[in-house]
């Protein structure tokens, strides 16, 4: 092999090597896009829901109401009959079986939807109104094109009669897609079309607030102590080793801690944002302390000396000068830590946040779900509608995380100081 050949070979090797690197980066970027695309394409449908127009005649007699009834009466009277009558008027059907099949086009909440409409618009009494009632999960999915209608009838839950009904209704323009407000206002449900992340949103909010309130002050205090006051001795070393180790302990171990100590020893209420918040605070603490210390360290010693030299005490030099300068950095570290806590699932499962909770929690000691746990719970469900709901929940969760991270980056860039 002569010199030129050798050189050529070396240059080829160079090109290959560079290509490996580029390929790796492109692969990683491809994964990001592929993952987000898979989630978004599945989830965007959940923000809309399918409705079927139903003409409802709010006849006071049928509802057994007086002419101008008080609100309680409106709330307490029985709407079942009215609801069924209205639904059966949508299409002409014969016999009990067919009636049942028609009713099954609708989500089982039709009765409450009709009631709630009247409660919101008491003037509609004795009038006829067209209501958009929520379609049941199968038809919701059918209308969104996610239902395999080409399967043979015996392998579908929707039979041919119902398919015909549906097609006729579509042709009459009675089937619509509207914004799915249930997704954000309702708690969990066994029926996908009625399930919402309202409870999970509130649960996550409580959890993260508790985590913030506990971890931020303690993290600041601990970092200030370690950076500014701690003498060099064995205790300090031991604390530092502990913090570094805790930052790398798998999150599930913190779940075991919460289960063993918070639930087992202190008997705090299971499945609640309170316990979740404390558990996640313990997990987040070391992860916040590390960036907090870094931003304290970034404040140049000349600032401390300047303060000390005019007779500020150590505490004063820290509280008046060092800490205010380090706060933006500590905040951005804290926000990133909180974003991690917000997406954390495993420890919450262990402290029982996987309970099926329909009600939206009103205080942090109510049983509740949280967004990532809701993702887990719904991903285990068999109904087709939950796939879409799960993806939508992920979209909401990711949008929160992205917002948090943007705030953190913004803080860091805005207040970053070059000394």
């Amino acid at each position: 092999m002569n010199k030129e050949q050798r050189l050529k070979k070396r240059h080829n090797a160079e090109k290959r090597f560079k290509l490996y690197g580029l390929t790796s980066i492109l692969l990683a970027i491809f994964f990001v896009i592929f993952l987000l695309n898979a989630i978004f394409s599945k989830g965007s449908g959940a923000f809309l829901k399918t409705t079927i127009d139903v003409e409802v005649n709010f006849d006071a007699d049928t509802l057994e109401l007086s002419e101008s009834p008080p609100l309680e009466d409106l709330e307490n009277t029985d709407y079942y009959e009215l609801a069924i009558d209205s639904i059966l008027k949508v299409k002409k059907v014969n016999g009990l079986t067919e009636e049942k099949l028609l009713i099954n086009l609708f989500s089982p909440d039709y009765e409450y939807e009709i009631r709630n409409f009247l409660l919101d618009n008491p003037k509609a009494l004795n009038q006829t109104t067209v209501l958009k009632l929520t379609a049941s999960d199968d038809f919701d999915q059918l209308h969104k094109g996610n239902y395999p209608r080409e399967l043979p009838e015996e392998r579908r839950r929707i039979n041919n009669f119902q398919l015909n009904l549906y097609d006729e209704l579509v042709n009459e323009g009675k089937v619509n897609k509207i914004f799915n407000s249930y997704l954000f206002t309702k708690g969990d449900s066994r029926n996908p079309e009625l399930a919402g992340i309202g409870g999970a949103l509130v649960g996550s909010f409580f959890t993260i607030v508790i985590t913030l309130l506990l971890s931020f002050p303690i993290a600041i205090a601990a970092s200030v102590y370690l950076e500014e006051f701690a003498p060099k001795n064995k205790i300090t070393d031991f604390i530092e080793i502990n913090i570094n180790n805790l930052a790398a302990v798998p999150s599930i171990v913190f779940g075991l801690l919460g289960l063993g100590i918070l639930l087992g020893t202190f008997h705090l209420p299971r499945s609640t944002p309170l316990v979740a918040g404390i558990t996640l605070a313990l997990m987040t603490l070391p992860r916040i302390i590390i960036p907090c210390r870094a931003s304290l360290k970034a404040v140049p010693p000349s600032i401390r000396e300047g303060a000390l030299a005019i007779g500020a005490s150590k505490v004063q030099s820290v509280t008046h000068h060092v800490l205010p300068l380090a706060i933006p950095g500590t905040l951005s570290g804290t926000i990133i830590g909180l974003a991690q806590a917000l997406g954390e699932t495993a420890p919450l499962i262990l402290i029982g946040m996987v309970a099926f909770v329909v009600d939206i929690p009103s205080i942090p000691t109510d049983p509740s779900a949280s967004l990532p746990v809701q993702v887990y719970l719904w991903s285990e469900q068999a109904e087709r509608g939950f796939v879409e709901k799960t993806s939508a929940t992920i979209m909401v969760l990711l949008s929160f995380l992205i917002t948090l991270n943007f705030i953190a980056v913004y803080l860091r860039q805005k207040f970053e100081r070059k000394w």
Partner: protein
């Protein structure tokens, strides 16, 4: 010398940084209302010495100070002494200007605030104005007291730091190579200022520039390898040094 009152007296001062000894039996008298310059090659212990006077070495964990320094016959190398009170009495200006990243006004008012020197806003305004005037900075910044102190030029920043030191009405001002980061014009201004300040304050200045020592000081001490070699009036040190090493140093044969 007309002035014979000793303000600061150090005797048998030894300083260790961990294993390493930085000062050896330093005996040095600093006279009241005079400028004392400390000269010597890098690492000879000048800065260590003045940082003992306001106990700034306390900040360094491994630093151990033994011996005695008295100010007006009061011992300050004492664990129980409140360094805060000491540092109120003894101001310090550092090598690199280190204004707080706050407004010019806040830079000056910080010291008086923590020491409770001003009863109200008017008092504070007065202190700020006086300090800036004494530091010969007032005319340059009086219209922008609310702007950041870090926005000033290097020389102005250093005078701001001097004003900050003056604001708590100290008796002594320590200056650790205050002009080393400045250009000649800014240096000249600071030197002028030092000349003015010595009427009201005792000043100890560490400097690398021998010409500066000659220009500003009445008394000069020469440090070498952690020992004080010679102290005398500046005139004597530079015209007729008593020690061969001093002679070599000031004539530039080493250092």
């Amino acid at each position: 010398m007309k002035n014979n009152k000793i303000k600061i007296k150090s005797s048998n001062l030894n300083v260790h940084y961990g294993e390493k000894q930085a000062l050896f039996d330093v005996d040095l008298d600093i006279y009241d209302k005079e400028v004392t310059a400390l000269i010597g090659p890098s690492g000879c212990g000048k800065s260590t010495f003045i940082r003992c006077i306001n106990r700034m070495n306390d900040v360094i964990d491994i630093c151990k100070v033994e011996g005695s320094i008295t100010i007006d016959d009061e011992e300050i190398i004492d664990k129980n002494l409140d360094v805060v009170g000491l540092r109120e009495k003894i101001g310090m200006v550092f090598q690199k200007p280190n204004p707080f990243p706050k407004s010019i006004y806040d830079n000056i008012s910080y010291g008086p605030t923590i020491h409770g020197l001003a009863e109200n806003k008017t008092d504070m305004d007065e202190i700020v104005e006086n300090s800036l005037k004494k530091a010969a900075l007032w005319n340059e910044v009086k219209d922008r007291l609310n702007e950041a102190g870090t926005g000033l030029s290097g020389g102005q920043q250093q005078r701001l730091c001097i004003a900050r030191a003056i604001s708590v009405n100290p008796q002594v001002i320590l200056m650790d190579e205050p002009c080393s980061a400045l250009d000649p014009i800014a240096t000249a201004k600071i030197e002028e200022l030092i000349d003015e300040l010595k009427k009201s304050y005792t000043i100890v200045i560490v400097t690398h520039s021998m010409s500066q020592a000659v220009r500003v000081s009445q008394r000069t001490g020469f440090f070498h390898l952690g020992k004080i070699i010679e102290v005398d009036t500046t005139e004597k040190i530079f015209k007729n040094p008593g020690n061969k090493m001093t002679q070599d140093y000031i004539t530039g044969r080493f250092g």
